[in-house]
């Protein structure tokens, strides 16, 4: 545990000024505090965002979709009956995320920006590649929960349940910094660590996520979220699938399939989605799409089962959209 300073500003501008000066954002703290306690993160200055007005809560503007403040506790999304009607996939994805207690404190922004759960990464005593070391210990080590696809130097998996669900809804994020605001696709927030880029997120220094936006069009699609866990509750996904589609006369349009737990980023393959356009989401089409999604998968010593699991979950998720 290291020593750090702590500030809790009330104005967003003040928070952005501090972030620009190199401070680290603190939301619910359910992830960051454990990282600090275990010596993995060593921030010198923390800016607590929870005192800032206007970053909490969600709203719908007619024709413009849904806007969710980054500081909204996960539980608020999960328990809102109104949101469940508009965007049931969000509730489905949160139902098995962490625990009720953590969902009460953990925020949307924090969930999207949480660090990965690789046990080598989380162990202060292991100087792995992602932390600036020379090698990835998972590659020839204990890899049952690691990536099977899309990994370069680092085989961790993207742990968020919310991210695949929101990406399947074409979500965008509003990013704020002292220099101004920008919008980006949520999917682009996630990057596979590679080469000089030893991190999981594409935020720049001094930026924070202010809100998530789901466009109106996504509200017309059906969606579903499936998650495989080692036990029945309070587990990160071994594999998860978010899928959404518009069903017209028994045919699927605008299909999205996003996998969690299999790659360093929420895993999406355009060709797989295209392949499903206009199909009836029958078993064969679903499995063929799953094969495209997992094409090139190179499991490590212990995680080949994830491929089997992912194939079946993709099939089930898509089939349930059809039915």
């Amino acid at each position: 545990m290291s020593l750090f300073s702590y500030t809790k500003p009330r104005a967003l501008s003040e928070a952005l000024r501090l972030l620009r000066g190199g401070a680290t954002a603190l939301a619910g703290g359910t992830d960051l505090v454990t990282l600090v306690r275990h010596g993995v993160a060593r921030p010198e200055r923390l800016v607590d965002l929870t005192g800032i007005e206007g970053l909490r809560g969600w709203s719908r503007e007619k024709g413009k979709g849904i806007r969710i403040g980054a500081l909204t506790p996960l539980a608020d999304l999960e328990t809102s009956a109104q949101l469940a009607k508009l965007l049931p996939i969000v509730r489905e994805s949160l139902r098995d995320a962490a625990t009720p207690q953590i969902r009460n404190v953990g925020t949307v922004g924090g969930n999207l920006l949480q660090r990965n759960r690789c046990w080598y990464f989380r162990d202060e005593g292991v100087p792995c590649w992602l932390k600036g070391g020379t090698r990835c210990f998972a590659v020839d080590g204990e890899s049952r929960y690691h990536a099977v696809v899309g990994a370069h130097e680092c085989w961790m998996v993207s742990p968020s349940d919310l991210a695949p669900a929101l990406i399947a809804c074409d979500a965008e994020i509003e990013v704020a910094s002292s220099l101004g605001r920008r919008r980006m696709k949520l999917a682009d927030l996630f990057v596979a660590p590679q080469g000089k880029r030893r991190r999981e997120h594409a935020l720049r220094e001094g930026e924070l996520v202010a809100a998530v936006r789901v466009p109106e069009g996504a509200l017309e699609r059906r969606g579903t979220y499936l998650k495989a866990m080692e036990r029945k509750a309070w587990s990160f996904a071994i594999v998860s699938v978010a899928a959404s589609a518009r069903i017209r006369e028994g045919r699927a349009r605008d299909v999205r399939v996003v996998l969690g737990g299999v790659a360093p980023v929420p895993w999406r393959v355009a060709a797989a989605e295209k392949q499903l356009e206009g199909t009836a989401l029958d078993d064969n089409a679903c499995l063929a799409a799953a094969d495209t999604l997992l094409d090139g998968a190179t499991p490590l010593r212990d995680n080949g089962y994830k491929v089997t699991l992912a194939r079946e979950l993709v099939r089930r998720a898509l089939r349930s959209l059809a039915g």
Binding site: M1, R117, W119, Y120, D123, G125, V126, F137, D140, G141, E142, R144, Y145, A228, E230, R231, K232, A233, W234, S235, I238, D302, N303, Y305, T308, L309, E312, L313
Partner: protein
């Protein structure tokens, strides 16, 4: 009263028979008859300390904060094996608030767990103690650890059981890593295997399970210049005292160990560990109380575990008889000097003429094993009972019918002694009915959703749990007519406090709330550790005798005060009852001024030539998703034959807890160690997945309930371990029934279930 005499007693503890010299005085009482329930014994009673525990009023070792108390923290080896060449603690010592540092170059010589040094010069597992700091606060002590510079010479290590057993592995022990840990034979297995009509030859594995009691290990030690008082979260106050007095070179009378409440132990807290010696040494040096409690990570590195095992079983049959069992096992003992032998059930459970078993202990650079709720028996039963089902499938016999045929013997095959009571067949009958065994079909049945199959499985259990001497109790009355019961045991969480209060209340004729139990203190006469399912069967009979003695005295005293004959008086729920009159006992006692009536009782030896065992059977109904490998345990029926049930409510909760812990072992709990680094990757509760409330199935608990009248004057045997023993095998057998695929490695994780399904050509 018959005179005092010295005699021998033979008692079983965790699968081994021990002989001890005991002193016996007086005569024992006869056990009550079947169906003779008292006002308290045999009735469901909430724990007498339940309110204190759930409201937070109960003080645990972790909660203890004494005036002037200091905090100790331990520096642990970051390597699986290394030589400690130099320790520079000067920076830590210079930190204001740091009161002392101990390490191998300045620590006094200490005899502990068969070693002479507290800090090894060669540290032998990641987490091995290297140094300790005592400081004004826990945070400061932990920070000071980071300032200690240690120079290590890293040595080759091996952490994996199968790697360590291979000839190419680095030798951790000078005489090699594989050691004998016991063997047993009867008959001629070789011949039986040769002549058999059918044989199977299968290998099973079980992974390392970690206790993860809610309260981690910890102690607070306080030296007053002459005597050491230690509060410790322990399941054996006397066990801790013995180890500490030896380590510190003190007389027994100089060490007092206290444990009023504790947050679980499961076997890992039968003795103590170095943290308590460290706290004591610092306290003796500084004259202030010192607290040292382990973090969850330390707990899971250096405070015991259930060994991983590799087990090979060969079974032979002819006709519908099992003719031979051969069982060879290897256990990863880490740095432990013993093995929890998995072959106990093989050697004793079934009437099989030819049995041979060999157990090996394998040394690795991992934390030492410790007893863990039915050590060896959980691992061994998983393998044995899986193999029995595999054989049943091979020869086309119903697995329950096959077991029935081999469960009739009335004598213990290992000693030739008759069982005091054996109702295993009744367990089968009750359980089969409750789970609906007649609906079991070879190959399973359709599940409740597409791709799901449903199956039934069962497994049996044998375990000791007869208890034995020495164990003592005293009862004395307060002037208000309430009783104080003193026993030298502790309540590990099983409800001992409540059960002994029930026994005492009934025997005297008091209400339960009129008995106050004092336990967890070595100032009391000796009581056994809460392990091996021996507690109640050891202390309960002594309590009954003490209460009996106290009642006789109080009635005689009451007769004197009320001026009637003692024979005309009875005690009923705190009232002295004579013909036509009911006087509260308190009114009588008031007239006695401060005279105190004291009853004493001791545990008599177990009957000669009888084998005291507990039996049971678990039945499981599961569904398995053939495409995702997910196991849904829907229902477990547990039937146990453990003699008389003193508190049905606590007994049911014991069984439920045992099953939940067994489901962890069966499905998710597994220590994961990186072999190259020698590091435990999940010494936490994130990736070491214990069952949650959502993982708990419907559990039906049944007891045969017949008192074992030959066993002791309560007719009761132990129940701590039995319910964890057969559940994993019952689930594995149900999974195999449902799917046709056999998972031979516990825990049956997704990866293993999917692999087994794919091997069987299903997934």
């Amino acid at each position: 009263m018959s005179p005092l005499r010295v005699t021998k007693s033979r008692d079983e503890f965790e699968g081994e028979i021990y002989e001890s010299t005991v002193v016996v005085e007086g005569r024992d009482l006869a056990a009550p008859r079947d169906g003779a329930a008292g006002d308290e014994v045999g009735r469901p009673r909430p724990r007498v300390d339940g309110r204190a525990r759930v409201t937070g009023a109960a003080v645990y070792t972790h909660d203890l904060h004494l005036a002037g108390m200091l905090h100790a923290a331990i520096l642990r080896s970051p390597y699986a094996r290394a030589r400690v060449k130099r320790v520079d603690a000067s920076k830590a010592e210079a930190l204001p608030g740091v009161r002392g540092v101990l390490h191998r170059f300045n620590a006094p010589e200490v005899e502990f767990r068969q070693e002479k040094a507290l800090f090894r010069d060669e540290v032998r597992f990641l987490g091995d103690e290297v140094a300790a700091v005592v400081a004004d606060s826990e945070g400061l002590a932990r920070y000071a650890l980071t300032l200690i510079a240690v120079e290590y010479e890293v040595l080759p290590h091996v952490v994996d059981l199968e790697e360590a057993a291979s000839p190419r592995a680095p030798k951790i022990d000078p005489d090699g890593n594989v050691h004998d840990a016991g063997s047993y034979t009867r008959g001629d297995t070789r011949r039986a295997l040769r002549e058999a009509e059918a044989t199977i030859d299968v290998t099973y594995r079980t992974s390392t399970q970690m206790h993860n009691a809610l309260e981690t290990h910890g102690a607070v030690a306080s030296w007053d210049g002459e005597r050491l008082t230690v509060w410790e979260s322990t399941q054996s106050v006397f066990g801790v005292r013995n180890m500490l007095k030896d380590a510190l070179g003190l007389a027994p009378a100089q060490v007092r160990v206290l444990c009023e409440h504790m947050g679980g132990g499961f076997g890992a807290k039968l003795g103590t560990y170095k943290y308590a010696v460290i706290a004591s040494l610092f306290s003796m040096r500084l004259g202030r109380p010192v607290r040292c409690v382990l973090t969850r990570r330390e707990e899971n590195l250096a405070a015991g575990n259930r060994s991983a095992t590799l087990q090979r079983l060969r079974l032979a049959s002819s006709g519908d008889r099992i003719t031979a069992i051969e069982h060879e096992t290897w256990s990863n003992s880490g740095q432990g000097r013993w093995a929890a032998n998995p072959t106990g059930p093989t050697n004793t459970l079934y009437d099989v003429a030819n049995v041979s078993s060999v157990a090996h202990r394998v040394t690795t650079n991992a934390g030492a094993l410790s007893a863990f709720r039915a050590p060896g028996y959980v691992e061994g039963t998983f393998a044995l009972e899986s193999a029995i089902d595999e054989l049943a499938l091979r020869i086309g016999v119903d697995p329950l019918a096959l077991r029935r045929r081999h469960a009739r013997s009335r004598t213990d095959p290992r000693t030739g002694n008759r069982y005091s009571l054996k109702r295993l067949l009744d367990c089968y009958t009750i359980g089969a009915k409750e789970i609906g065994w007649s609906e079991r079909r070879a190959g399973g049945t359709r599940g409740s959703a597409p791709h799901r199959r449903r199956g039934l499985g069962m497994a049996s259990q044998i375990w000791g749990g007869g208890g034995g001497p020495p164990a003592y109790a005293t009862v004395h009355f307060e002037t208000d007519g309430t009783a104080v019961l003193r026993v030298g045991v502790q309540d590990i969480g099983t409800g001992t406090r409540t059960a002994v209060a029930q026994v005492c209340a009934d025997e005297i004729g008091l209400r339960l709330d009129q008995v106050r139990v004092r336990l967890g203190d070595t100032e009391a006469p000796y009581g056994p550790g809460s392990g091996g399912s021996v507690t109640l069967a050891s202390i309960g009979p002594a309590v009954r005798l003490a209460a009996h003695d106290a009642r006789a005295k109080v009635l005689r005293a009451a007769a004197g005060i009320l001026e009637v004959r003692a024979q005309e008086l009875r005690l009923e729920r705190g009232m002295v009852v004579s013909e036509g009159a009911r006087t509260p006992l308190g009114d009588v006692m008031k007239k006695l001024d401060n005279s105190t009536l004291i009853g004493t009782g001791l545990r008599h030896p177990n009957p000669d030539g009888l084998a005291l065992k507990t039996f049971g059977a678990h039945f499981a109904r599961v569904e398995v998703d053939l495409r995702t490998g997910e196991i849904f345990v829907e229902k477990i029926v547990a039937v146990h034959d453990v003699g008389r049930i003193v508190n049905p409510l606590a007994a049911a909760s014991q069984v439920q807890g045992g099953i939940v812990q067994a489901l962890g072992f069966a499905l998710t709990e597994e220590r994961i160690v990186d072999r190259g680094l020698g590091r435990v990757m999940n010494a936490n509760l994130e990736w070491y997945e214990i069952p949650t409330a959502m993982d708990v199935p419907e559990i039906v608990v049944r007891f045969v309930g017949a008192p074992d009248r030959r066993a002791n004057n309560l007719g009761a045997k132990g129940l701590g371990e039995p319910p964890i023993i057969p559940a994993a095998a019952a689930v594995a057998n149900a999974v195999a029934n449902a799917t046709g695929a056999r998972v031979r490695h516990a825990p049956m994780t997704r990866a293993r279930v999917l692999a087994a399904l794919s091997m069987a050509g299903i997934a």
